[in-house]
Symmetry: C2
Subunit: 234 residues, 2 copies
Amino acid sequence: MNLDTLTKNENDEIQREIIVQIRDLINYKNLEPGDKLPSERSLSERFGVSRNNVREVIRKLEFYGLLMSKPQSGTFVADIGQVALNGMIEDILKLDTPDFKSLVETRILLELKTARLAALRRTEQNLKEMEATIKAYENKVHNGEDAVQEDLLFHLAVARASGNGTMITFMLIITPEIITNFEKYHVCDKNQAFTAIQEHWDIYEAIKAKNPQLAKANMKTHFSALYQYLYNIE
Amino acid sequence: MNLDTLTKNENDEIQREIIVQIRDLINYKNLEPGDKLPSERSLSERFGVSRNNVREVIRKLEFYGLLMSKPQSGTFVADIGQVALNGMIEDILKLDTPDFKSLVETRILLELKTARLAALRRTEQNLKEMEATIKAYENKVHNGEDAVQEDLLFHLAVARASGNGTMITFMLIITPEIITNFEKYHVCDKNQAFTAIQEHWDIYEAIKAKNPQLAKANMKTHFSALYQYLYNIE
DNA sequence: GAAGTAAAATTGGTTAACCAGATTGGTTTG
DNA sequence: CAAACCAATCTGGTTAACCAATTTTACTTC
């Protein structure tokens, strides 16, 4: 373990403690939805940490919709109720960097759906973007170069064509971790790259033909190697 | 539009411009993966914005795995390659607060899967947690009280039982927005609350019996009202 | 001339001071 | 006595100064 990770873990630990203390404070003071939290200054003093730490935690809980900061006014408890708030904080505290298997599992789930939706909703512009990414992938592979990036861009283009903003966001979140782990575990295979070209075209054609079932099936075929990998590490 | 939103939009606009400028800088200087970005100070000076703004953007791009900050050393371009980097930044710039339909669509997708996985992987502890949330829901409904929170906690308990960390994270991300929109559009119905109790028990029993198909089917039934809503607003 | 070394400059991270706007409590005024 | 108003205070947000670790640079030494 290098220093970087250590520092980050230490910082994480501090943040987790602040989250616990904020939760306890809300419960102890019986703060209802919409009630105001003590000021950042008093919280940092009470918890014995810097105001920056408190601000970071508040931003995090704001991201998960549990708190809401109003400038020059205060930080307020979201109106999701005490029970839900405690439950969600419990889960947030348990959150950890997800394992590779969970990432792949989720990716496959998302992509089978985006392929299906793309077949229903794709525009001409979407088709052009997908075509461009496949051709770029083709060029790289034929030149014997690494083409992980271009592969990724094709899948992002499909997600874009699905017209579902939430799924695009989720794809963006998991993509970098997928890439990192692919390189780490050497999931990709050189000779798979050539077969992948045709598979990309097959997915493209199904989406172009507005055939959702076929698009999903072709995406499934494209993931077959990944499936195998997923079940082997089980 | 209130002042809050306005300020937030202005800030968003500044951040988007900084992202664009950083992308252009990487392309112009032909920065390869692993290369060092100019320091935060010089970037803020060059772009004519505060160092805080730059730091926020860097943190955001770090979240999406495109950059990586090393303390006392510099900020580095992630090793995902220039092509992928440009593509992902393009998508990040297009990101917007997702519409309600996209949220519900994604939620249904996720939950059908978590129900199925939960039936395969649930522990005894998971069952106890789910049981507790259903009973809490029951009590509230029988007393005529609002039980949106308890409903949510049951679904989170199912997600926890799925054993997939990524899906739990995603559920946590979309949940608060779902709740807000439910209340906004009055999706929930009082007399639906009673039928939901039995539906929760049905899902629970299928998961307890380790029957993935039935668990998924029961979850689908539970979402039937939501399905209808989803297609009505189309 | 190359290798080692120490000091100076540069870096992201942290802390503290400052700001503008919102809130609050007391005072004034009708 | 109530309502209106104003100033003191408190708020999250922003800016600037500071810190410790790292990297670079220049000099010494063999």
